[in-house]
Every structure is written in C-alpha cells, then in structure tokens.
C-alpha cells in the first residue's frame, strides 16, 4: 500500500462516520442527540460526493450536490429543533420515549 491517499481512504472515512451517525441515531433517546447523528450521516454523504467528484471524471457536480446537502442539513436542523422545542413544551422533556403517546 503506497503512502498516497486515494479514493478508498475517503470511502472508508465516510463509512466510519456514517456508521457512527447511524449508531447515534439508533441508540440515543435524547432528541438533540438524534439530530446530531443525522448531521453525521449527511456529512458522510458529503465526503462521498466530494471524493467521487475529485477522483471521478465529473468536476463540479459532486461539489454542487454537497452544497445542496449542506443547505438541506441547515433547513433540516431548523425544523428538527423546532419540533424538539414543541415536544419540550408539551412534555417538559426531550426524551423521544415521551412521544410514544402519539402511537396510533
């Protein structure tokens, strides 16, 4: 294995971050923790985009998509936090277990 950093390194990094994010989302009961996990997942996707853009033929497509994802993540964080606030006001907690009251 040569010392140069290649596509595989980025993909592995991305996979690690995705797994961390997924783990966070699945195990956290704190709503804000879940939102953080989601951010991790989105950023792992961004790394993939940029890596493929850099090593693949397409020059700007991946970067533009990455910018879109960042924007999306920001919007998602706003709405997510608003939901969390609403939950807090109703249940005086941000434990997602509380929302089991909403079951059908």
């Amino acid at each position: 294995m040569s010392g140069a950093v290649g596509l595989d390194h980025y993909l592995v990094l991305s996979l690690i971050i995705f797994t961390l994010g997924m783990f966070t989302v699945l195990t956290r009961r704190n709503a804000i923790g879940i939102l953080m996990g989601v951010e991790l997942i989105l950023n792992s996707a961004n790394i993939n985009y940029l890596a493929f853009a850099y090593y693949g033929g397409a020059r700007y497509d991946g970067q533009i998509f990455a910018i879109f994802v960042i924007m999306l993540a920001a919007a998602e964080a706003v709405i997510g936090l608003a939901v969390v606030l609403a939950i807090y006001q109703n249940f005086r907690t941000i434990d997602v277990g509380a929302t089991e009251n909403l079951s059908g």
């Binding site: 699945l26 195990t27 009961r29 277990g97 929302t99 079951s103 059908g104």
Partner: protein, 686 residues
C-alpha cells in the same frame, strides 16, 4: 301622384284620440273620482274635436292644391323591412280618406258630445270614453294607413273596440254573448281579408314588385291581369273576392250580417258611432280604396252588386216586423250598407261613398234620436209600449222625422241625393235585377221607417203611467247634437245633385282623382247616359217611396188597415218568417254553431280520455321506473360505496397498530427495510 305632398300634420289627427284613450284608460278612474265626470267629458270630446279641426284645416289645404296632386303623405317611421316587404308607419291623405276622416272625426265627435249626456249616470264613464277614443284612433288608422297592413291593423282595432263596447254593460250576460258573436263572425271575414293580402303580396312579388303600399299596388296591379290564381279563378278575381268576403264581415252583408242586429246590445251612442256611421262602412271604404283592382275583376264586381242588392232587400224585409226600436235601425243599417255595396258593385264608386257619408249623417241622427227616446222612456226599447212621444219630445221628433225623410229618399233630403243615384246607376250599368231589388227595397225602407215613426211618436202612449210621468225632452248635450245631425240629414246631400235636376256635383269632382285609373274610368263612364231615363226612373223610385209611406200611414197612423189581418190574409206564414228573421240565426245555429260545438265537445272528450290517458300512462311508467332505479341506487350503488368504506376502515384499524410512536422503532424499521432492499438487489444481480 308620383310625388305626394309631404306633410306632418296627419299624424296629430290620428294620435290625438290615442292620447285621449291612453289618459282615460291609465288615469280615468282616478280623474273621475277626483275631479268629477266633467274632466272626462272635456278630455274625451276635446281630443276628437281637435282632430276634427285639424282635419278641416287639412281639407282646406287640400282644396288649395291642384286636383291631380291632392295626395298627402305623412311618413313616421319604418315598420317592417324584411324579404322585399317594405312597410312604414305612414299616413296617406287623399280625397277618399279625407272624406272618411271628416266623417269619422266629425260625426264621431258629435256622438262623443252626445254620450256626455247619454252616459252621464254610468259609473264607468271614463271606461266608455276610453274605448270611444280608442275606437276613433283605430278607425283613423284604418282609413289613413298608407299600406294595406296598417289598414288591417286599424281593421282589427275597430273590431276589438266594437267587441268591448257591445259588451260594455258586461254584467248582463246576453250583452257579452252579443259581443262574442260580433267578434267571432268578424273573424271569419278577417281571415278572408288576410288571405287576400297574402295572395296579393305573393302575386305582386311574382311580377317583381312585392309591395303592400296602396299607391304602389295601384301602380303595379295591372301587371297581374291574366295571372292564374287559386280555386280556378284568376289572381285578381280571387284577391278581390277574398277582400269582399272580408268586407261582408265588417260591413254586415249576407252571409255574415247576423252579428250587427245583436250588436245593438251596446249603449246607443256605440250603435250610432260604430254600428251605423263609421266602423261598418270600413268594408265599403276598402272596396272603394281598392277600386282599381275590383274593376279588373268583372266577376267580383257582379258578386258585390248582387250581394249588395240582395242584402238591401233582404234586411229591409226583416226590418218590417221588428218591434225593438234599435233592431229596426240595425236592419236598416244592414240594408243601407247593401245599397252602398250595390253602388260600388255596379261601378258607381262615387255614389257608394256618397251614400256612406249621407248615411252616416241620417243614421247617426236616427240612432241618437232612438237613444233619446230610450233615455226618456227609462230604458224601454219596445215600440209597442211607446206612442205619442212627439208632444213630449219635440226636438227629438223633428230631427228623427228629418232623418227618416232622408233615409226614405225624399227630395231634397240627403238620402235622396245618394240613394237615388245608386239605384239609377244600377240600372244605367245594366244590372236590371239589382236595380229591381234596390227599388223594392227603397219602398220597404220607407214603410218600416214610417212604421217606426208612427209607432213611436204618433197615437196614444201605451207604456205605464210611471213612464208617462217621466217623459221629458233630453238634455241640451243630446238635443243640440240631434239638431246638428238633423240639419246635416237635410242639407248634407247638396254637394252632389242628380244630373237630371242640376249639374252641381263638387263631391264627385273632389273624389275623382281617387277613381282615376284608366280601367276605373272606363267602368264608371260605361252605361247609359240619358237624363230623360234618369228622371223617369227617379219618378218610378219616388212612386215606390210614396207607396211605402202610404201603406205605413194606413196601417199605423190612420189604422184603416189592420196589420194583423193583413198578415193573416197570407196565412201568417210570411209574417212569421219575417218576424223570426227568416230563421237565419237558427239556420246558422243548426249548421255551424251546433256542429262546431259538437266537434269541440268530441275534441274535449278525446283530449280528456285519449291524450290525457297517454300522458297519465307515461307518468305512471316513469314513476315505476324511478322507483326501480331508486331501489338499485339504495341497495347496489350505495352497497358498493359502503362496502369500500367498511373495508378501508377495517384495514386502517389493523394498520394503525404499526404506528407505535417510538422514533427508534421507526428508525430500526427503516434500517431493516433498506437492508432487505439491498439484499434483494444484490441477490438479483448475481
């Protein structure tokens, strides 16, 4: 004649009575209640009097023109312009319509004034004057319309007013049926008239000049000569016959005269205005107006002459036996109209129109005199209950006598000038049979008129004491009108004197431009021109007149001959027939009215049972089908809809358990699903 003088005053003559009618109908009841009957009188008489003054003014304006250019046109606005038919609302004043306008507004105006006295007690005073004014308007439209359609509008308008005025006292049932009879009988004639107009228009269209404007019809009518028409006649004969059929309805000639005697149910001024002086002469006017076509159809001319002669004689004989003072005059009117038609039919157009005018004078006078008598007798119309009235009503008596002498044809009264001329012309143009009928009719006329005078004004009073106590001369509004009309009856005929006495005939000269088509001239000029013969025949007629008077005098004044024994001498049969008007009403009842009613009843039965049956069947079937459709709807369609909703509800109930509310649970679910999808894809790719 191609360039009629254009004026704009005729419209006011026509419109004034319309304004009167409009105000009377719209505000009359209120005006009468608020200001009394006087304002209705002033309004009703005023508009007609104004129209008369305008007409007189136009008359002098017309005299100032050269005889050949005495044609005035007042065009208001375009009316119908469609498919080659160009008709305007326009009024056409020529010598003939001038004479008619003067008669309608003049005699009509007098009768309006008379009505203020006669109808004074009536609570529907305003309604009466509204209808009288409307009648005057319609009659003026008829007379002055410059085309045949406008004439027809007036023709129908006067029919409507006649109907309404006959049934004016509609609370008495027979009055309304009399109105209906007049209206329905007139419809028959009107239908013929419309057929004539359509045929004429179609025929003129076929030669390239579709028009109904009278003066243009006159111009193009010669092109129709020889054109085949309908029913095997030439077109001209057909059209003129149909027009004459229309005239028999409006002018009460055989066979459609039956409505006029019944029309006496109306108030007496109505009988005088509509059923003696003006409306019933509309047919005469129309034939005279269309003279250029009638002369093209000798067959029609003969029919007109014979029908006129027959009617003159036939109606006169019925007049003999009537006891109702107005019925006598009604049959007399029918008879005198027969004279007019006889005059037209033999080609003496001027004489016919002249008799129309003089008849308007003396017959209006007679009717109004009769009205004065009825007024004084408290509504009694039976002459058998009158008698000796000359002492109580000297003015009525004098004027009635003057008019009687006029209708009898005693020189120099108006009737002599016109009637003698007609009788002579019938002979001169070779219609000997018609001449005979007219002459005998003249004798009978004198008989029934003097019978009436003697029964009413001579002898002893035969009514009740109460009536005798009540007898009085009529109020001034009635008496003055009688005097004016009486004077007209005496002197009104002096505008045309028979040739064998003097050559003074401005009336004929005045009318000449109207009867100036070459063919009309030819027909008018034909026949004998012999003053000696005319004088001799005039003497014969006068002998008949004296004879008629003598018989009446012997029977009803001196009473040396008992009329009952006289009729018994013939077994009473002729008398019985005459008394019952030859059973013509019964004949029509049997042949026309009853079959017609039977037919309507049969149709009503058919309608009630067959048509209604079909309709009801259809309705029943529809209800049944609707019921079945309702069942299908509520069980099948609604069932499917309900089933769908139930299934949805059930499935939803089961599925909602998946909605746990646990976010982690959802995320695991998502993860599991993604993994399954990836797994499946991987397996499928391998």
């Amino acid at each position: 004649m191609d360039h009629p003088v254009s004026i704009s005053i005729v419209r006011y003559i026509v419109v004034l009575p319309l304004i009167g009618a409009a105000i009377n109908f719209l505000a009359g009841a209120w005006l009468q209640k608020t200001f009394g009957k006087r304002i209705i009188s002033v309004l009703g008489c005023g508009v007609v009097a104004l129209a008369f003054l305008l007409a007189v003014r136009e008359f002098f304006a017309m005299l100032a023109l050269a005889p050949d250019s005495r044609f005035m046109l007042d065009s208001l606005w375009p009316w119908i312009h469609y498919g080659g038919l160009d008709i305007d609302i326009a009024f056409w004043l020529d010598p003939l319509s001038m004479v008619m306008t003067l008669v309608v507004t003049g005699v009509g105006g007098l009768i309006h004034i008379y009505s203020t006295g006669y109808m004074h007690e009536d609570e529907s005073y305003w309604r009466f004057f509204g209808w009288l004014n409307l009648f005057t308007f319609a009659m003026l439209v008829l007379v002055l319309g410059d085309n045949l359609w406008l004439m027809f509008v007036g023709w129908e308008g006067v029919g409507l007013c006649s109907f309404a005025l006959i049934g004016f006292w509609y609370k008495v049932y027979p009055n309304t049926t009399a109105g209906n009879k007049a209206f329905i009988v007139n419809r028959i004639g009107d239908l013929a008239f419309v057929i004539a107009l359509y045929s004429l228009f179609a025929a003129l269209g076929a030669v390239g000049h579709p028009t109904l404007v009278t003066r243009e019809v006159a111009k193009y009518a010669p092109m129709l000569a020889g054109m085949p028409g309908y029913l095997g006649m030439t077109m001209v004969t057909f059209v003129t016959l149909m027009m004459f059929a229309g005239a028999t309805g409006k002018s009460a000639q055989i066979p459609l005269y039956v409505w006029l005697p019944d029309a006496m149910a109306g108030p007496t001024p109505v009988s005088a205005l509509i059923h003696a002086a003006t409306m019933v002469t509309a047919g005469v006017y129309m034939v005279a107006r269309m003279n250029f076509m009638f002369v093209m159809a000798p067959a029609t001319m003969t029919v007109v002459a014979v029908v006129g002669g027959l009617t003159a004689l036939f109606a006169a004989t019925i007049g003999i036996a009537q006891n109702d003072i107005k019925k006598v005059l009604a049959y007399s009117t029918v008879s005198q109209l027969g004279y007019m038609f006889a005059g037209l039919g033999v080609g003496a157009f001027t004489a016919g129109v002249f008799h129309l005018m003089t008849h308007a004078f003396f017959k209006a006078c007679l009717f109004l005199g009769a009205g004065s008598v009825i007024h004084s007798m408290g509504g009694e119309q039976d002459m058998r209950k009158m008698g000796g009235l000359r002492h109580h009503m000297p003015i009525t008596f004098a004027t009635f006598l003057a008019a009687t002498l006029a209708i009898s044809g005693v020189p120099p009264f108006a009737g002599f000038m016109s009637k003698d001329e007609i009788i002579w012309q019938a002979f001169a143009h070779g219609h000997t049979v018609v001449w005979g009928m007219l002459m005998v009719g003249a004798g009978i006329t004198v008989f029934y008129m003097f019978r009436q005078v003697y029964m009413t004004f001579f002898g002893d009073f035969r009514g009740t004491h109460e009536q005798e106590h009540h007898l009085h001369e009529s109020p001034p509004s009635i008496a003055y009108v009688l005097v004016v009309l009486g004077l007209l009856s005496v002197f009104g005929g002096l505008v045309k004197i028979p040739d064998f006495i003097a050559t003074f005939k401005p009336f004929e000269t005045f009318l000449e431009p109207v009867f100036s088509s070459p063919l009309t001239r030819q027909v008018v000029e034909s026949g004998i021109h012999s003053r000696g013969t005319e004088a001799a025949l005039g003497f014969v007629t006068f002998t008949m007149v004296v004879l008629g008077w003598l018989v009446a005098d012997l029977m009803y004044r001196q009473k040396t001959i008992d009329p009952e024994r006289f009729s018994a001498a013939f077994g009473g049969v002729p008398y019985n027939w005459v008394l019952n008007k030859y059973f013509v009403d019964e004949f029509y009842d049997f042949t026309v009215v009853r079959p017609y009613l039977a037919m309507t009843r049969a149709l009503a039965w058919f309608d009630l049972h067959v048509i209604d049956g079909v309709v009801n069947l259809v309705a029943t079937v529809t209800v049944l089908v609707a019921w079945l459709s309702g069942l299908f709807d509520s069980y099948v369609v609604d069932g499917l809809v309900n089933a769908a909703s139930l299934v949805t509800l059930d499935v939803g109930g089961r599925l909602r358990k998946l909605q746990t509310g646990s976010i982690n649970g959802y995320l695991y679910g998502i993860l599991a699903a993604v993994m399954v999808i990836l797994l499946v894809r991987a397996m499928l790719r391998v």
